[in-house]
């Protein structure tokens, strides 16, 4: 589904992503792990088209999407829930959700998608007229993922959905993400600092450090590697 080859993303002289290659097969959950500043967020932002790549190739569903702007990438079926969720505080929950599907022309399907998201996240349904700024952290992440689903994506890029959330809420979120893969066949790229929860639902894991890949393997193998865990994953 997703093939990345020698990707380099730089800000001036600083290489946030320094020659990263990875593959994510269709329908898989791949955890992207590493400490702060490892380049995980920049990697997602380059894939979704928010920032341009300096070198390398990104192929999605066989199509070269390197350098494509975010507006186009979204229309190909890639949804990105950014760091912090990106819930727009001045808009209501309902407006935030509807925003996620605006690019689709099928109005009936948009309404259906909205209903499905409210079914998946009943809490959002209860608070649909509330401004997003009054939501709790967990609700905001739900809103962000819900909004990402509105466009009926085939691939989901999630940037640290568990950041700042209590363990119970994190576990809930992970269950939802896992469930989405099971029910919708979504391919998921899950960036996390909380490596333990990420690896618990992921098929494969990629560990980044200072913009480079230092390990790539099945999640079970990564979790079992004590040295790796202590050095990069913090558990």
């Amino acid at each position: 589904m997703l093939e990345i080859e020698d990707l380099v993303t730089a800000y001036g002289p600083i290489r946030a992503v320094d020659g990263v290659s990875l593959t994510a097969p269709e329908g898989s959950i791949t955890a992207v792990l590493g400490a702060n500043g490892a380049g995980k967020t920049s990697l997602l932002q380059t894939i979704s088209g928010l920032i341009p790549a300096r070198q390398g190739r990104i192929r999605y569903a066989g199509r070269d999407i390197t350098g494509m702007g975010a507006e186009k990438v979204v229309r190909l079926g890639v949804a990105h829930s950014p760091e912090g969720g990106g819930a727009i505080g001045e808009l209501t929950v309902d407006e935030n959700l509807r925003l996620g599907a605006l690019w689709r022309s099928d109005r009936a399907d948009r309404a259906k998608a909205l209903r499905e998201v409210y079914e998946l996240f009943p809490r959002l349904g209860e608070r649909r007229a509330v401004h997003a700024s009054s939501l709790s952290g967990g609700e905001r992440q739900m809103l962000s993922i819900g909004r990402a689903l509105m466009g009926r994506p085939k691939m989901l890029l999630l940037d640290e959905p568990s950041l700042g959330l209590a363990p119970i809420v994190t576990a809930q979120l992970m269950r939802v993400i896992h469930g989405l893969r099971e029910s919708n066949g979504l391919t998921v790229l899950l960036v996390e600092q909380n490596a333990k929860s990420a690896l618990s639902i992921a098929d494969r894991g990629v560990v980044l450090n200072v913009g480079k890949v230092v390990a790539e393997d099945e999640s079970r193998t990564l979790a079992a590697n004590d040295d790796l865990r202590k050095a990069y994953l913090g558990f």
């Binding site: 507006e71 505080g89 509807r98 996620g100 690019w103």
Partner: protein, 292 residues
């Protein structure tokens, strides 16, 4: 008492014109985080175009529509050609570009139409109404002014809240990067924002033109007042723009009436400085303090 009434009505009528200019500043500020210093020059140009149409024999309302339309076009062109390239640069660049545009437009207007102020017809009679035997200094044209600006504000409200284009426009203004991730073509939203803002300015231009005449520098005071009204209401708030316009219009009217018209500009400056020093977020500040 009737003097007070006259001053109040006059303040409301002028206040609505300041509100229209203020709305223009607010729309652009919300969309692109830029104070459009060239706003006054832009509305001056569109008013001149309208004047040209009317002077060549066109009907008033044709000129009116031409002013609004050319405002839409001018705003869109300026956003795409001049503002888009500096959107990502430090804010000082955009300020300088806007000032450059201001200077340029005023010079061009001077070249095309010259410096002699031209008279511009009002939409309706400016003769005041006679209400119950009293003659008030508020006439059909003033009423039209108030209704036109209120109507425009209402139209914008409907556009932002009620239509399908309103949501992506607002999202683009609040969080452009997030909006991009939802597939919103943020650039087009910004262009639309500038077009609407410019049209609001053009409306103000044709409404104030009969009083101030049309010349390259004749719209400078109303621009300063519009900016002051926008700051007063809070640059983020279109509702604040209207309220700010009214408050300023009334204040300046009373100053002119009771203290002399020579002090009006000074009073406006004093209000501006006072607001900037005491409450820079304006009266209708959004909850979070924005770094200006």
């Amino acid at each position: 008492m009737s003097r007070f009434l006259d001053l109040t009505l006059n303040g409301i009528s002028n206040g609505m014109i300041y509100a229209a200019v203020a709305i223009a500043f607010v729309l652009i500020w919300r969309a692109t985080r830029i104070v459009n210093f060239a706003q006054g020059a832009m509305l001056m140009v569109t008013t001149f175009i309208a004047w040209d149409v009317i002077d060549s024999g066109g009907a008033y309302w044709v000129g009116f529509v031409v002013a609004i339309l050319s405002g839409l076009i001018l705003g869109a062109v300026i956003e795409v050609v001049l503002i888009r390239p500096v959107e990502k640069a430090p804010p000082i660049n955009a300020v300088i570009v806007a000032i450059g545009l201001l200077i340029f437009l005023q010079a061009i207007a001077g070249m095309i139409w010259g410096g002699t102020p031209r008279s511009f017809p009002p939409a309706f009679s400016i003769r005041g109404y006679d209400i119950g035997g009293h003659h008030v200094l508020f006439g059909p044209f003033d009423l039209f002014t108030v209704l036109a600006v209120l109507g425009a504000a209402l139209l914008l409200l409907v556009l932002f809240r009620g239509t399908s284009i309103g949501l992506p426009m607002r999202a683009s203004a609040f969080e452009p990067q997030v909006a991009r991730l939802q597939g919103v073509r943020v650039g087009r939203m910004l262009t639309l924002g500038w077009a609407l803002a410019s049209a609001a300015g053009s409306l103000a231009g044709v409404l104030i033109a009969p009083a101030v005449f049309v010349g390259p520098n004749n719209f400078d005071p109303v621009t300063v007042f519009g900016f002051t009204a926008a700051v007063l209401g809070g640059l983020d708030s279109p509702l604040g723009a209207v309220v700010g316009g009214l408050v300023l219009g009334l204040s300046l009217s009373y100053v002119a009436g009771y203290a002399g018209s020579a002090l009006v500009t000074l009073a406006a400056l004093a209000i501006l400085i006072a607001v900037l020093m005491v409450r820079p977020e304006g009266l209708f500040a959004a909850a979070k303090a924005r770094r200006v």
